[in-house]
């Protein structure tokens, strides 16, 4: 349980520091079952901060999103820190960004929030319709939702995101301050979904993906929401040379998704944001989780866990597996 008052107090403490530029957290959304990320710069704005099961977005994505504007002549660059509130899965993004040296540990203040799960908007809308809930709380293995004045209780698995049901890291892996009590890990992730998918023969797999990739409108929301996709110039929009054309046929769509999954090999921290935001419901995590599992099996590596680790593809082991190599 996270005490909102304590959360806001802590945020205030952080914001009045001289060396903090802004704080990223969540505030009440304008509708529906999801909160809104918010960036506040002044201690007077801390009242809007909340944390509950609607806080589904990953604030760690915003650290690298802030554009570095040119510094006017004679002025000093602003080197103040950014404070970020993160759940367990979000903290993995910070750890992985530190591994890749996107910024230094001293550039961020991490306010960790142990998390017991967030609501899946799609499940919620199927269950309750197009409504905005009142209070939402997690009690043990049930979720209590206030809808239309009535309090309803449902099983966790029926309302929370699938990723929460197999969350291995509910407690932030890096934090300067913990804003709640640590929680027990809910379950271990056996990657059963990946095993299930692998039972298909190549023709069936391609049939599945052809249908999925044909839906893609190349809005690139999956890429933009991903905390690990922070390249200033992305390979898919590069023009000289052009790797992937902008036309939305099966060839380019497939190439785009494979490129993105490839670039996330050993880096995807499974926040599932890509799948949440896709407007045509492409099961992007099915691609990413395959590589996550293989990276774990083949190289015993898990991204976003150890800030001192080296990036997966920047190191090697002379005894690396060598199947299929002639």
């Amino acid at each position: 349980m996270v005490d909102t008052k304590r959360l806001q107090e802590k945020a205030k403490e952080v914001l009045i520091r001289d060396d903090v530029r802004r704080l990223i957290g969540w505030k009440r959304g304008t509708y529906g079952f999801e909160a809104a990320p918010t960036v506040i710069t002044d201690a007077s704005q801390v009242d809007q901060l909340i944390f509950d099961a609607t806080c589904v977005q990953n604030p760690a994505s915003f650290i690298s999103l802030e554009e570095k504007k040119p510094v006017p002549r004679g002025a000093e660059p602003d080197t103040r820190k950014i404070a970020v509130m993160v759940k367990g899965c979000d903290s993995r993004a910070i750890v992985q960004q530190l591994v890749e040296k996107a910024y230094g540990r001293d550039d961020v203040i991490v306010l960790g929030i142990p998390c017991r799960g967030v609501i899946d908007r799609r499940k919620a809308m199927k269950m309750f319709g197009d409504v905005t809930p009142g209070n939402v709380s997690l009690n043990g293995d049930k979720v209590a939702v206030e809808v239309g004045g009535e309090k309803k209780e449902v099983e966790r698995g029926e309302l929370l995101m699938d990723k929460c049901m197999r969350c291995r890291y509910p407690n932030p892996l890096v934090s300067d301050d913990l804003l709640g009590e640590e929680v027990e890990k809910w379950a271990d992730d056996e990657f059963a979904d990946v095993d299930e998918f692998e039972k298909m023969v190549p023709e069936e797999k391609w049939k599945y993906w052809e249908e999925q990739f044909s839906k893609c409108i190349r809005c690139y929301s999956c890429r933009n929401v991903c905390p690990m996709c922070y390249c200033v110039e992305c390979v898919v929009t590069k023009m000289k040379p052009q790797w992937t054309r902008r036309s939305t046929d099966i060839s380019e769509n497939t190439a785009y998704h494979i490129q993105r999954a490839w670039h996330l090999a050993g880096r995807c921290i499974e926040c599932n944001e890509c799948q949440r935001v896709c407007p045509v419901d492409i099961p992007i995590m099915t691609l990413n989780r395959k590589l996550t599992r293989d990276v774990k099996d083949m190289f015993e590596y898990e991204p976003g866990v150890d800030a001192e680790a080296e990036p997966l593809l920047a190191c090697y082991n002379p005894q690396d597996p060598e199947e299929y190599i002639m």
């Binding site: 304008t30 529906g32 990320p37 054309r245 939305t248």
Partner: protein, 344 residues
């Protein structure tokens, strides 16, 4: 025009009888609905709120060949493809049809776009009034409504077991005849009017657009934009799913010696949108791009064409990953303007 009806269970039959038309209708693709060309009328459903990807893709497809050529060819005469078979969009919501009338302004402006025009003239729009508007719809604030007839050739109302169809133009009449619809009586007409009224009452959100086109430019340097742009991901989902957004990029593609020039949807939310060849970018950060998008829709477009480039369909609100709510922005802009006026 005329009043008609058909039994909902006969939907597949009605669609099958439209043999002269290429029919596009809402089809479930997984949990999501999309307007696709109908190959199996049984797959069409009218139990949907609205499609995620708007039916604008039927008038200006996401990727469209402008013309083909061979590398080395020096006398290229672009041929605009024939309009082809007559087309019919079945079940389009009034907001999306209104959006076509708005986008018409642009595609007919300094250069009449023949690709768009051909499709537009060749398509009959059979609308579907909303009995239960979504929570984020605000179409009445922008001149539309759950049963608005603007831009439609016919409009249908879901009366439970029957669909009441009101034809509005000759094209609509032609559709009714082709579909073999039976005439409807006063009872259905009255019931439809009642439904329309009730639906209007169910709209939960609104914005008074008076004065917005005029005051937005004055807020160009105002810091209020930052509270939204700070969390914008520049993902472009708002533009891809917006029925009035119409920007496109043109690129050449070659395969061996055969090549084509194609246009595909572009978005002003990407930083590459305004990236010059020199490397300079006049909209380098999300603040400029967010400000530009809202200002374009609510100020620059109405300045030229006397209509706000928004139909209140609510898709941008529903699908923005970070809850950037256009009504929130407009309300805050009014507050910002009021504050400025006070201090002035």
């Amino acid at each position: 025009m005329g009043d008609y009806k058909f039994a909902k269970e006969k939907l597949a039959e009605v669609l099958s009888s439209l043999k002269d038309y290429k029919v596009f209708a809402p089809v479930a693709v997984g949990d999501v609905f999309r307007f696709l060309q109908v190959d199996d009328p049984a797959k069409v459903t009218l139990e949907f709120a609205n499609s995620n990807v708007p039916p604008k893709e039927l008038m200006f497809p996401e990727t469209e060949t402008l013309f083909k050529y061979r590398l080395g060819q020096t006398d290229i005469e672009p041929e605009v493809p024939d309009a082809g078979d007559k087309r019919l969009v079945f079940g389009i919501r009034p907001c999306d049809a209104l959006a076509y009338t708005i986008v018409d302004n642009l595609y007919n402006w300094d250069f009449p776009d023949p690709y768009y025009q051909n499709r537009r003239e060749n398509t009959t729009l059979v609308g579907f009034a909303c009995a239960d508007p979504c929570s984020n719809c605000f179409c009445p604030s922008l001149g539309g409504g759950p049963a608005s007839e603007k831009g439609l050739d016919a409009i249908m109302f879901d009366m439970g077991d029957t669909m009441y169809v009101k034809t509005l133009t000759d094209k609509g009449e032609a559709f009714a005849k082709a579909a073999g619809l039976e005439s409807a009586g006063d009872a259905e007409k009255k019931a439809a009017e009642k439904q329309a009224e009730e639906a209007l009452g169910k709209i939960g959100r609104s914005i008074d657009t008076k004065g917005i086109p005029e005051h937005l430019p004055s807020l160009y340097d105002h810091p209020f934009w930052e509270q939204f742009s700070d969390r914008c991901l520049s993902c472009g989902i708002c533009t891809f799913l917006c029925p009035t957004c119409h920007c496109f990029d043109i690129q050449d593609e070659a395969e061996g010696f055969d090549a084509r020039r194609a246009r595909m949807w572009d978005t002003c939310m990407f930083s590459e949108y305004t990236l010059h060849t020199s490397g300079h970018n006049p909209r380098p950060t999300r603040k400029e791009r967010t400000r530009n998008r809202i200002s374009h829709k609510y100020s620059y477009f109405p300045e030229k064409f006397d209509v706000i480039a928004c139909v209140g369909c609510g898709r941008c609100i529903n699908y923005c990953p970070v809850n950037i709510d256009i009504l929130d922005i407009l309300e805050k802009s009014k507050q910002a303007e009021a504050k400025e006026a006070k201090t002035a």
